[in-house]
Symmetry: C2
């Protein structure tokens, strides 16, 4: 089997046209180089060089293969270069999963920031439910994901990005009096609209409003926050809205949005990744940037 070592020796031999000098160039003894060249010729089944008393002549075969061999050696050296270069932070491809109740609000702010600060980064976004995010991160289909913590899989590492408070949204002509601030107990469960199953926000809303036995829930599940809030603005009910969505949804739907009384309920948004991924620097830098983006979204 042909080896790179043999090619390197042949390269030196073709350069010097002299076994001794080629050996010196490759820091090896002349017999060693000679043996490797012979081995190479035997492997390929052709004579590469013509041994003469006054040095060496490449055979036509040798001359044919030389440029290809040199190209291979260059490509191999290129591997080292590329390996060395690509040790920077947030470079190359990053596959990022985001849950649907975060993605549409965070992405428009986050992506431009990423593009600006880490121009070498090529982000691939996927909007997935929590389970999808976690599974795909675990199986290496995603590098990391933005989900609501805590997650139940301790084979993944996570860190908190920001707290996302819940508020109550209703149509602005809602006849039911919404107190501000209101307590969870005041939420009329009959009128509470939720996302369809699978969305963590649905479970969180239920938890917040106390889905104790006996309290019924409107069993229609909206497919997205946008749909849900549209329903709310048309007076079909009320819902829990995460603060991160407020700014954006206000521009689209006329709604009345009131906070909960302290201690305000919230969800904790975090980043999850495989502990073995070895991209700690990347995760850290990404987390910092997301936190910054979220702060911008939440301040106004």
């Amino acid at each position: 089997m042909l080896t790179l070592r043999q090619m390197r020796y042949f390269d030196a031999l073709a350069t010097t046209l002299h076994f001794g000098r080629a050996a010196k160039m490759t820091n090896v003894s002349q017999p060693a180089l000679s043996a490797q060249i012979m081995e190479m010729e035997s492997d390929l089944g052709i004579r590469l060089v013509e041994r003469g008393r006054s040095g060496v002549i490449l055979t036509p075969h040798g001359e044919t293969l030389l440029p290809e061999i040199r190209a291979i050696l260059l490509a191999v050296d290129g591997l080292y270069d590329r390996a060395r270069q690509s040790t920077g932070v947030l470079e190359g491809r990053l596959r990022l999963g985001i849950i649907p109740t975060v993605a549409p609000y965070l992405v428009p702010t986050l992506i431009p920031m990423l593009r600006q600060r880490y121009p070498k980064l090529n982000v691939e976004l996927r909007e997935l439910l929590t389970t999808g995010c976690v599974d795909d991160v675990k199986h290496g289909k995603l590098d990391c994901a933005i989900i609501a913590l805590p997650h139940n899989d301790d084979s993944l590492r996570s860190c908190t990005l920001f707290e996302d408070r819940f508020l109550i949204a209703s149509a602005d002509d809602e006849n039911t009096v919404l107190l501000s601030p209101m307590t969870e107990a005041q939420v009329d469960m009959d009128r509470l609209l939720l996302l369809e199953e699978g969305h963590c926000l649905r479970d969180q809303a239920l938890a917040v409003c106390g889905s104790t036995a006996g309290r019924r829930v409107a069993n229609y599940g909206a497919t997205s926050m946008a749909t849900l809030l549209q329903m709310v603005s048309h007076g079909m009910g009320i819902t829990l809205i995460p603060e991160i969505a407020v700014k954006d949804e206000r521009t689209r739907n006329r709604m009345r949005i009131v906070p909960f009384a302290d201690p305000q309920p919230s969800r904790r948004i975090g980043l999850v990744w495989r502990p073995r991924s070895g991209r700690n620097n990347d995760q850290e830098a990404l987390a910092a940037l997301i936190t910054e983006a979220a702060a911008e979204l939440l301040e106004g």
Copy 2:
């Protein structure tokens, strides 16, 4: 130092995403493959794969390098293919030297024949004096050469291609009576025109006509057969013309060309090459073709 073996193992690992299966694919034990991958990562200074309990995931680095590594492996396989393919007769480059008193007459016939019968052959022609031909063949600057035999260098091998008879050429209005056939003794040395020094034909002409002491020779030396024969046709003298040149030169100059009496003097044209060149098949095929081309030239 990175090796091709490691790259092959990595290729298999990236394909199977499983150390055990990759090991089976490469006909090696799992620990051996594992060790090579680790060695590779250590060499490159980066993690290539992420070891998990359910198989393997490529790191971004690994994914970046994979296509390059596969390209390298393909190129190496290509070396074998090319080596195997190029074992045919008269393929690739052939650098052929020809002496000036043969080249202009043989080449127009020889080259088309070569092109037709050996389309994969790329002939590089060089017109050189005998010494140049021999030296360049010896030093590997030419693969072989067509010269007049015998040559004095026994480090080269040679074979006869064809016999090239000498004739006497004069202007067709030459007032000196040229007998036909004529003997060497009848040549008027005062009127004998020769090529400049270095051409073997000059020495052969002198040898034929007996350059015994006392017989002077016109000391003007023509630079080529064409020039020489032009001078002859203008009545400036007579000269020895090799039969191979007769057909072509007759169409350009009006001359009277008469043979020598038997035994007709001639030169032996042959092919020379390095015995170590290992292209015996090539030399043989080429010699056969040249003989054929010469026969065509000489028959008419």
